[in-house]
Structures are given as C-alpha cells and as structure tokens.
C-alpha cells in the first residue's frame, strides 16, 4: 500500500526543466524540401560548398528508409509536420551586432547555466544553444589566447572555413545512416572546437542544448578537432520543455583526435522523457563518433542518459592510430514508458589498440532498455584488446533489459572479453535500508548510485554531483 502511494506521488512529480520561455522566435514554416534546405543555408549565410553538402545529403536521405532494427517502438514521424529552423535571438539594427534577449539569459540562469562570465562555474566555458541558434559562447577571448577556437559551428563556417570543410562529414559521412543524412541536410547550430598542437585546454568546454519552440526539431551538429599532443574535456547537457507531442532531436557529433591527443566527452542527457503515461517526450536519435586518427591518441565517451522518450545512440570510436585507446562509459536509465537502445561501436584498425566498454542499464516502470554494441577488430589490428562489461539492473517486474553484443574479429592476436550481469534490487535490501531509517526512495537512490558509480566517477566533479541527483529524480517511483 505504501508503495502505491509512493508511485502515485512520483508520477505526479514534475520534470524540473519542463518550463517554456516566452520569447519572440522566428520559426520557419513546417515541412521539408530542397527549398527549405536552401533557406536554412541562406539564413546562415553559408558558402556554396556547404549548401552543396546539404543538398547531396538531402537527396540521399530521400532515397532512404527510417531504420527499424533497434529494440524500439518508434512512432511514425511525419517529417513534413516539423519546422526545421527556429531562431529565438533578437537581431538589433546594427550589422552583426546581436543583442541577447534578457528572457534567454534568464532561461539559462534558471537551468543553472549562467551566461555572464563572472557568474559562471569556475573553469567552464559554455556555448548555449536554444532551438536552432547559439545564443552565446563564453570565455572565447581567454581561450583564443592559447589559439583555442570555441564557437558555434555557424560562426566557424564563416571564420574558419578551411578547418570546418576539412573535417565536417569526415567521421560521420551523410551516407552513414538515415538520421545522419537528415542532420547533414538541415543541421542548424552546435559547437565547434579546435585545440591546436600541443595545447592543453585550460578549462572544461561545454555546450548546453535547449529545445524551446513548439513543433520544431533540433538538429545540432558538433565538431571537435583535437590536434597532435593536445587535450580537451568537453561536456554536453540538454533539457526541453514538457510537451504533449514528441519532439525530434537528430544530432551529429564528430571528433577527430591527432597523435598523442586526448579528448574526454561527457554527456548528461536529460531531454523531457514524456509523462508517466508515455505521452510526449523527445525522440533522441543521435550519431556520435570519434576518429582516433593519430598514433597513441585517446578518446573517452561518458554518458548519463536519463531523459528522452526514445534514445537511439551509439557513441563510437574508430581506433585508426596505432596504440590508440578508446573508452565508453554509460549509464542509461529508463522509467515509465521510456525506451533506450544505446551502446557503442569500437572499430579497431591500428596495431596495439585498446578499448574498454562499461555499460550500466537501469530499467524501471514499463520501460525497455537495451545495450547494443559492436567490437570489430580489423585484419591489421595486431594485439588489439577489448574489454566489455554490460550490467543491467531491473526495478520492478514490468520493465525489460536486453543486451545485444556483436563481435567481428578478423585478427588472431586480438583479445576480446565480454561480461554481462543482470540484477534486481531485492525486497530484502530495501527492507534492510528501511529498518535503518532510510526511506525507500532514498534507498533506491543509494543502490542505483552505488551501481552506477564506476561510470559516474568518470565525469568531471560538478557534473558527477548533478548526475547523481538526476538519477535519484529519474527513478523516483520506480520500485514496484
């Protein structure tokens, strides 16, 4: 009986970031066509080569079908019923002189992302993106002193066209998959990062994505280029208002790492997950991939996925350079009617390459949570090693946890290990906690955080604390 009351209480609990900002937003008419692609490109004042890139991607996309291999029930998406561009920033009369609406500043304040540098988290530079446009990027001057470029990708196209042109689509070609083609055709904003040779980025870089406008999709595009002997740690956060209808988010993140370079990419994904009946929520269909181009390069993906109605996402690594090392750490939480099909691909091409996969799935309510991963070792990858560990934790008996590990090993000297466990929070454990005075909700939080701590420990400090709190909130009411 107490449990039912608890469940009810939680079902009624609100998603903390579900508010909407009232701001004048220029929204492109709904629908998708070559004209729309051209219009987006024109609005952004893009060069010819980029328009051509978009159009090629769009034409390819038209020939493709939405993939159905995921362990997901993806609703029919009407691509003509979505607006592909929404700009919430006011433009003042002066040429290129952009004034930020105080409402936007307030929104990001409310989300805990102050855009005034004096208020910012120490040691973190932020690119704030709302809908299709980057609102502001902080600490740019300080970073520029070291030769680091951190700006929105739209600006990068204008200010650093050669860098962008050399790498855009080089890791995730538009032909990669259906959603990658769609993104390549209509992508709006996202961040661009360049760390020059031998430079250690002195602060955490982060992008905060926010969907605000109704009936729009967000198609962010992020490109990180970390040159030889350089280092950067990059964080990504995301939230959206509560809406009854599904919102589409189809992003691409590409990372290129030079010799002895190192990139740490962390995500705390908290898009609106839909309500407790499964209504609404963000469809998070994302392609993220890093190319470990140089020898001895390193890349780690750390993700805490708690939001979205549907998550379809496999941050992957192509280990091309000899002795390059890649890591994937993931905690994916699903509750109510959420569905997640997430994991990674580790493609070993170089000699002596090493990859580690630690995946922790937590399912509750009537949700479905799948790990899908591919470990591929090419013919030339002598001495390649992979260790994978995939754990699933079930809360209640109406949810599902699934593991789909694929292996393709073409080199005899490779060592590939895979471990998997499935466990449940037991009544005995909860009772033991209760008898010590710890309420069920807090007990679940303790156990889940303990279960996920190997991954949470990989996050930068400030993020780890946020992620812990987020796990507790997402799972409230999950015991049954």
């Amino acid at each position: 009986m107490a449990e039912n009351a608890f469940l009810r209480e939680v079902a009624e609990k609100k998603y903390e970031y579900g508010f909407e900002t009232k701001v004048d937003t220029e929204i492109l008419e709904k629908g998708l066509s070559e004209d729309v692609v051209r219009m987006i490109s024109r609005k952004k004042g893009e060069p010819e080569w980029l328009l051509d890139f978009r159009l090629e991607a769009f034409r390819f996309w038209q020939t493709q079908k939405q993939p159905s291999w995921g362990h997901l029930t993806l609703p029919e998406i009407d691509y003509q019923a979505i607006s592909y561009y929404a700009d919430p920033t006011k433009k003042s009369a002066g040429e290129g002189n952009r004034e930020i609406d105080p409402e936007l500043m307030k929104t990001f304040d409310k989300l805990g992302i102050p855009l005034e540098e004096r208020l910012a988290l120490s040691g973190t530079a932020v690119d704030a993106v709302m809908d299709s446009v980057s609102v502001k990027t902080t600490f740019r001057e300080r970073l520029a002193e070291k030769g680091i470029i951190f700006c929105s990708i739209s600006e990068a196209v204008k200010a650093h066209p050669d860098l962008v042109r050399a790498h855009l689509g080089s890791v995730v070609p538009y032909r990669d998959n259906y959603f990658a083609a769609l993104n390549s055709a209509v992508f709006s904003d996202g961040s661009f990062v360049y760390i020059p040779k031998g430079v250690r980025c002195p602060m955490e870089l982060s992008t905060y994505f926010r969907i605000n406008a109704r009936g729009t999709g967000q198609f962010e595009r992020t490109l990180i280029v970390c040159d030889d002997d350089a280092y950067v740690s990059y964080l990504e956060g995301c939230t959206a208002p509560m809406r009854d209808e599904n919102q589409l988010h189809a992003a691409i993140v590409e990372i290129v790492v030079g010799a002895r370079g190192e990139v740490k990419y962390s995500t705390v994904q908290n898009w609106y997950p839909g309500d407790s009946e499964g209504k609404g929520g963000v469809l998070n269909l994302v392609t993220k991939r890093g190319l470990l181009k140089g020898d001895d390069s390193r890349l780690s993906w750390t993700q805490v996925e708690t939001g979205s109605a549907i998550t379809w996402k496999y941050p992957s690594c192509v280990l091309q350079g000899d002795r390059s090392q890649a890591e994937f750490y993931s905690v994916a939480v699903t509750n109510n009617f959420q569905q997640a099909d997430t994991g990674t691909k580790m493609i070993h091409l170089g000699r002596g390459t090493k990859s580690t996969i630690i995946s922790k799935g937590i399912s509750a309510g009537r949700s479905q949570n799948s790990y899908r991963g591919l470990v591929k070792v090419g013919r030339k990858a002598d001495g390649a090693r992979n260790y994978s560990s995939c754990d699933s934790l079930l809360l209640g008996s109406r949810c599902g946890a699934h593991t789909f590990p694929y292996m393709d090993v073409q080199n005899d000297t490779a060592v590939v290990e895979h471990e998997a466990t499935t466990s449940k929070i037991s009544e005995d454990q909860l009772f033991y906690c209760n008898q010590r005075g710890i309420a069920t909700e807090d007990a679940v939080g303790l156990i889940v955080n303990g279960y996920a701590k190997d991954v949470l420990n990989k996050l930068p400090m400030e993020f780890a604390v946020e992620a812990q709190k987020l796990l507790n909130v997402s799972l409230e009411g999950a015991v049954g």
Partner: protein, 250 residues
C-alpha cells in the same frame, strides 16, 4: 516502552503468531526463547514492520504511539533497531554512504541538521572501536564479503551509530565463535543506556550470560507459554523445551 496486545500475525495467509501479549518497560531486557518455527523471527519482523507480514489482530504501542500505523522507516527513526539474523548484502553501496544516509535520516526525523562529512567520519571512527570493527570493512560495500562474525559485529556497530532506545537482537549469537560473541555482547552492554530496552531472541544460554535479561519468555507455536526470571534460560539449556510443552498441555 513497548506494549504488545493480543497480536495475531502471519505471512502469505498463514497465521504464525496467535495472540502475543508482551510488555517491555524502559531499561528492561527480555529474552525470547523457543523451538524452531515457533514464531520468534515473525515477532521481530512484525515489530519492525517487514512488509511481507500481515497483522490480523491486536496492537503494538511504542511509547504510547500506534506502531502498526507507522512505516518501517518511521519506526526505525522513532528509535527501534533490529540486529538482523542474516544481514543483507548491498553491492556497490559503501558502509560509509549507507550509514551516513541512516544517521542523517534519523537526525532529520528528530529535527536536527545533517552531520557534516567531517563530524560523521569522526563518529564512525569512535563507534567502530566499540565492536573492534576493522576500518577496512567500513569502506567496503554493505555486508559484501563480510564473514558471519563480521556481519554481526557490523550490526552492533550500526546500533552504536544510530543509538536506538529499543533493540531487537535476532539470533545475534548464531554463527559467532566465543571471542566474537563476547565482543558483540560487551559492545551491546557498553552501548546500553539506563532506559534502553531490548528483546533478545536466542536458542542459547551463553549470550544471555553476558546480557543478563530481566525476563525470559518461551514462545511455542505462536504463543508465549511460559514467562520467568533469568533462571528459566538455564533450565531450558539443561532440560530442553519438552517439559514446558507438557506443562502447557501442548
């Protein structure tokens, strides 16, 4: 302190306790002895509020409060502590984090502020000494990889941290060697305050030699069939339970 009236309770539709009457006054220690399956563990589980057990009749008052109307954690935070017979392992949750959550839940219920990390760790160090608990154990996951004796010591350590006013020791002596038994029993005694009361569930005399109960009850087939002074425990040790059954006409 604790007043049990005509308590009927069971599990999965099967009645196990068939009308228990038991009053434990402040500062008293009551031993409950009995044969296997007599209902000793059911009695302790019902007092602390295990969700699997159902009370069909009767009442339990704790300091005048209706205990049966309170949730398990409310009972715990009102000062009731059970030392488990088989403490559960909770992988991934460190003893430190677990105890911190428990101590702060108790403090919150008392309207006190949460302890700072520094003060909390100091408290852990002090209390650990009482049961000679290895510092390594408190940095491990709750009960994970603990030996039987370590688990029991860990229970008394938790009692030291939470300072309950009413304790249930559910077969705390099972699986303990002589030295461990002494450490656990002496730990319990040193933690007792004048008004701390307890129910001690045991099969054996030896734990009672240390704890010196005021009253000994014999529980058979869901009923308390005999109540006596500490000498009753010695008599059971020598003669077993059959004579009591005969006396009670069972």
């Amino acid at each position: 302190m604790l007043e049990i009236n005509n308590l009927h309770a069971g599990i999965a539709g099967k009645e196990i306790l068939k009308g228990i009457n038991l009053t434990v006054a402040d500062g008293e220690i009551h031993a409950v002895m009995g044969t296997n399956g007599a209902g000793k563990s059911t009695l302790s589980n019902v007092i602390v509020g295990h969700p699997a057990y159902e009370v069909t009749e009767g009442s339990i008052l704790f300091n005048g409060q209706d205990l049966l109307a309170m949730s398990t954690e409310e009972r715990a935070n009102a000062g009731i502590f059970m030392s488990f017979q088989a403490p559960t392992e909770i992988p991934g949750v460190s003893m430190t984090n677990f105890m911190r959550a428990a101590v702060n839940a108790r403090r919150a219920a008392q309207g006190r502020e949460a302890l700072s990390a520094g003060d909390f760790l100091k408290l852990m160090r002090e209390k650990r000494k009482i049961v000679e608990l290895d510092a390594k154990l408190t940095s491990r996951s709750v009960n994970e990889g603990f030996s039987g004796g370590e688990k029991k010591r860990n229970e008394i350590f938790q009692m030291a941290m939470l300072e309950p006013s009413f304790c249930i020791l559910d077969e705390t002596d099972s699986g303990l060697d002589v030295d461990a038994l002494r450490i656990v029993a002496e730990g319990f005694n040193s933690l007792r305050k004048e008004d701390t009361s307890a129910i001690v569930i045991t099969h054996y005399q030896r734990l009672l030699d240390y704890l010196k109960p005021d009253v000994v009850h014999v529980l058979i087939d869901g009923r308390i069939v005999k109540t006596g002074g500490p000498e009753l425990a010695g008599e059971i040790e020598r003669r077993g339970f059959d004579w009591i059954k005969e006396e009670a006409g069972l």
